[in-house]
């Protein structure tokens, strides 16, 4: 692995730059920062401010799911690869996703009403319209986070605690998740800013450096208790085996893991966050697009993985599919591209 490190530019402007082109010129531009860290905590590559705390949002669902597995809850309720993968997912609300979550809730002896994530129309337009055609409104199982929530309910049941209020920061489930996050990141999160995520669970602000460290430990198990290391191994293996469950049709996480698997675990979070783990190299990756744009964060993630050599064995045309994103107009005419900026680092 080459070493690479770029500080922020003047006034804290981050260097990773993705541009959106049209008519031969740059129409819009996104900035970001990222860290690649090994399981000993050594920074292997860094771009921009990796010490500012960022909310990881859904990018750390695989860490939030560790207690579900390491406590034996997942095995007690008979959860297999699909269930473990959807516990780590921001899914599209497609039929298989909803069916899997329904099965998890049934296994736990609960139903949709026990979820506290709130409902929203499926990300998948086809599935949203299919619901509408049936005269149905979405319920909480269609929420992209419902797999994580079903896993948290399973954990609550297995721990023998009240399921109601499991999204509250003081509830044993969230306290357990917090402790797990603290061990993996090496931080005292009692001192961290804490926000409420879109699905109502707490999200702690963590520097990219520590998030990347956490994902290096997740994929190597280094310095983790045996049960936790084994839980991490099983969760990543489940996502590699069932990438559809992690997101769905035409979604980056599913498509990228499918195209490169089993090589890089990737997980998106709201507001332009990505976390990734590369078991083969023992590396963790964390990235934030400053303005929160997912379209740019995806390109940044793949391009930093490419830059440091993680994708050297992946065919060029496969990599290009994820870093040169065509923009079409409403009639399918090619009108522009989303891509790493010319020169990539804009300083």
């Amino acid at each position: 692995m080459p070493h690479d490190s770029e500080a922020t530019g003047p006034d804290g402007i981050n260097p990773l730059t993705v541009e959106v082109t049209r008519g031969g010129i740059v129409e819009s531009r996104h900035r970001g920062a990222a860290a690649i860290v090994d399981a000993r905590g050594h920074i292997q590559a860094a771009w921009g401010d990796i010490q500012r705390p960022v909310f990881p949002r859904s990018a750390i669902k695989a860490i939030q799911a560790l207690p579900l597995v390491e406590t034996g809850a997942a095995d007690a309720f008979g959860f297999g690869a699909r269930e473990l993968a959807i516990a780590c997912a921001s899914h599209n609300g497609e039929a298989l996703h909803v069916e899997t979550v329904t099965g998890m809730l049934t296994a736990v002896g609960l139903d949709e009403s026990a979820l506290e994530c709130g409902g929203h129309w499926p990300y998948s337009e086809a599935d949203a319209h299919a619901l509408a055609v049936q005269g149905r409104a979405p319920d909480q199982r269609h929420n992209n986070c419902s797999g994580k929530h079903a896993g948290m309910l399973a954990l609550a049941r297995h721990l023998g605690v009240e399921t109601k209020g499991y999204t509250d920061q003081r509830h044993p489930v969230q306290q357990r998740v917090m402790g797990t996050m603290e061990m993996l990141t090496g931080l005292d999160l009692g001192r961290a800013a804490v926000g409420i995520d879109g699905c109502s669970v707490p999200t702690w602000a963590i520097p990219l450096e520590n998030l990347a460290f956490a994902f290096a430990r997740l994929c190597t198990g280094e310095d983790l208790p045996d049960d936790r290391a084994e839980a991490a191994r099983r969760l990543i293996a489940a996502c590699f085996r069932e990438p559809f469950m992690v997101a769905g049709t035409d979604r980056f996480c599913t498509d990228f893991m499918t195209a490169t698997a089993p090589r890089v675990f990737v997980k998106t979070g709201a507001e332009g966050v990505f976390c990734a783990a590369v078991p083969e190299y023992g590396l963790g990756v964390a990235l934030k697009c400053d303005d929160g744009a997912g379209r740019a964060a995806e390109v940044m993630l793949v391009n930093i993985l490419r830059t440091v050599g993680v994708l050297d064995d992946v065919p060029d045309e496969t990599v290009r599919r994820f870093i040169e994103i065509g923009i079409e107009n409403r009639r399918g005419t090619a009108v522009g591209t989303i891509r790493p900026a010319h020169g990539w680092l804009a300083f």
Copy 2:
């Protein structure tokens, strides 16, 4: 009007800053540039790089609609305020929008198949689902630009030219629009970068300074031929009278013009562009959020209008509704805010 001018910061970073907060910290951040110019071309206020060409996209629909009115085409086909307003619109595809466009096409002796904008599901989720429930797919009338396109077809008919191919840059309709843009902006667009818009018409890249100048002329008529000045007056009056036609339910342009009317004409464009005109002060405004985010461009626009005193007569609570945007999670809990950055100009 106070004078105000801020250059770009180091490395061309634009100063207008909108932040997205969560859990008491800044989660994401947007930058932008803007110009406020009078009808003589004097810059009244400027922030950041206002000379870099940007694609105005849909923000200049009111200018694209000038030939429709000044040639007499609109009158020949009996278009009233609703039709003029929707010719300037990026609408939601709600029932009244589609009905109005259908009426325009019928008046012109054409139907939906003559449109060349392409179809997409209505921006309005309720209307998209209503279509799906009826087992229907969207057609080109549901495209947010269909009013502009119906107006362009009316112009082609009135000019006695072939309607087919009216979206092509070489077609008389687009050449006429180009000439109108050149007069209002004072630029030779033959030298400008030209892209293809989402709805297939050409979009010429124009510096914010010139876009703002164009909107000052649009709302004052200064130095314009009488027919063109009168067409501009009628179009802005139509949008002030029928703000719903310009966008629709829960949309910024409609809500802001309704809350402040008749004071500021505002029009959004894709990729974080806004143009505005303030007839009362004879000012034009043009703004671009660097990363293309509409959520930030709206806040930037209202805050620069506030900063220069244009909204002094608007109640504080009304202004605040447009510059302190609450973010709720899926269960309706307040979790964050979109707002001008602390200190606003980030340098």
